[in-house]
Symmetry: C2
Amino acid sequence: MYAIGIDVGGTNLAAGLVDETGALLCRAECPTCAERHQNEVLDDVAALTVQLAEQAGGLDEITALGLGLPGVVDVRRGELIFADNLGWQHVLIGEEMKKRLPLPVFAGNDANVAALAEARCGAGKGVESAVMLTLGTGIGGGIILNGKIYTGAHYVGGEIGHFILETNGRLCNCGVRGCFERYASATALILAGRKALSENPTGAIGRAAAGNPGEVTARLVVELAREGDRQATAIWEEYLHYLLTGMVSLVNLFDPEVFIIGGGVAAAGDFLLEPLRTRLPRMVSFTDADQARIELATLGNDAGIIGAAMLGL
Amino acid sequence: MYAIGIDVGGTNLAAGLVDETGALLCRAECPTCAERHQNEVLDDVAALTVQLAEQAGGLDEITALGLGLPGVVDVRRGELIFADNLGWQHVLIGEEMKKRLPLPVFAGNDANVAALAEARCGAGKGVESAVMLTLGTGIGGGIILNGKIYTGAHYVGGEIGHFILETNGRLCNCGVRGCFERYASATALILAGRKALSENPTGAIGRAAAGNPGEVTARLVVELAREGDRQATAIWEEYLHYLLTGMVSLVNLFDPEVFIIGGGVAAAGDFLLEPLRTRLPRMVSFTDADQARIELATLGNDAGIIGAAMLGL
């Protein structure tokens, strides 16, 4: 049994042929050229599907096509409600694809399908419930309950980057103040590093970035904290505190079997994982109860393709 | 089809005979005397059950017994993990009751079962998903997903009063700083009223309470705000802001069909409901999407009994 998953990004369409175990058998890719009309992009989605299906012996061998879309998706109707990166609104993806392909088509939010892939055959492997935190430009990921993506009654739930960590806090792109992702994304780490550079240009961060704020990356801050630099350590500790505070809220609300941590910041590996595993159990309200495991994501960029395919498997 | 529900409180055991529509047909009650050994309390639970069953024609007419317990409950094992108000730890309620009664026995957290009752046959009537906020001494209530109580992988989820509204905020009884219930419970309103009294003893709050902090109630603050007193209005507006901020987090995570508001503060009625309904849709991240309804709880104190019975219906 095979399905095809396509991660529809603002830059590229990344497609893959996936078997029922979640193994990614082969890939194909083309640029999205998002400035085009949506019909042209969906034509390319169909073309990629046909191209990959040939590897499996033709479309007859394919169970379904799944799409990961960068926006709010009505999964029951197969409708993309809106996607800022693509400039699309109210596109009936399922119906559109049926005009092009004789296949069942499923659609989901791109971050949510990646969480599904990690929960089913990545870091979570077989868990019933998981919260994935993709610590990148924002905080993506999603909530998996009973082995399925949780999106709520109006498909705006599971927005894991947008619960509030500070009432009246930092202004978020979503218009709300104090969202989790303003404090615990890679961007938050970068902005804290740039602030440190401007306050102390001759410090370790300033020297490593040659005084250029544009050279301050999350990786740079993490590396300097790992080496014990005082300023970078203070930034990293504050970052961990915010991340852990958000995780406490998520435990007290969702109490998942496992947290799966992905995104750029997850490259810090044990330097991130160890303090999370040590401190979270001491920070939650019910310290006597069994606790959620904390794991790093294992599927990398393939998670979006695999998870999209899983919508149809 | 009948079930018996018993709300096991620190003060009273409140029991009721409930039919399959959720109607409470008759009640019985006795003091808990929580200082006794748990076996004696459970003997009384059994006696109340037998007493109510007679109203239905005997135990043979009863489908099940459901218990609402003031603590963390492992619903699959029927185990009360701990309940501070009772001083009980690791009590296998299901097994204990089977020694006393020839009935299937189910157990759940008291606030959670009340939320179940409101979602199924109270304010939510038939919804699949609901978040109930019981604004009382703390914030109880619970999360209903797919028509069932959601408690998570280790039964510590759905703790609706204990997600964090302010990192490093007010210290909560649970040991965590900044929990929702420190800001949006009736207690928060009372404490703000007392603070106002101490700062301005001759203000409207001070006069209404005759200068006695112990006379400051949530109802008093609400009434003075309703009358337009400046100080009480400021307290009420701050309270609403915190409550709404928490509800934004809950929308972005759970996106329920309905919020059900109960507890002492809900007695404010439209004075509470109107600003919540007007402001919440403007405060969430995805203002284009359909929104959760906001309703007042309708079952009052009966919710605990009805919800407990529903565990077995």
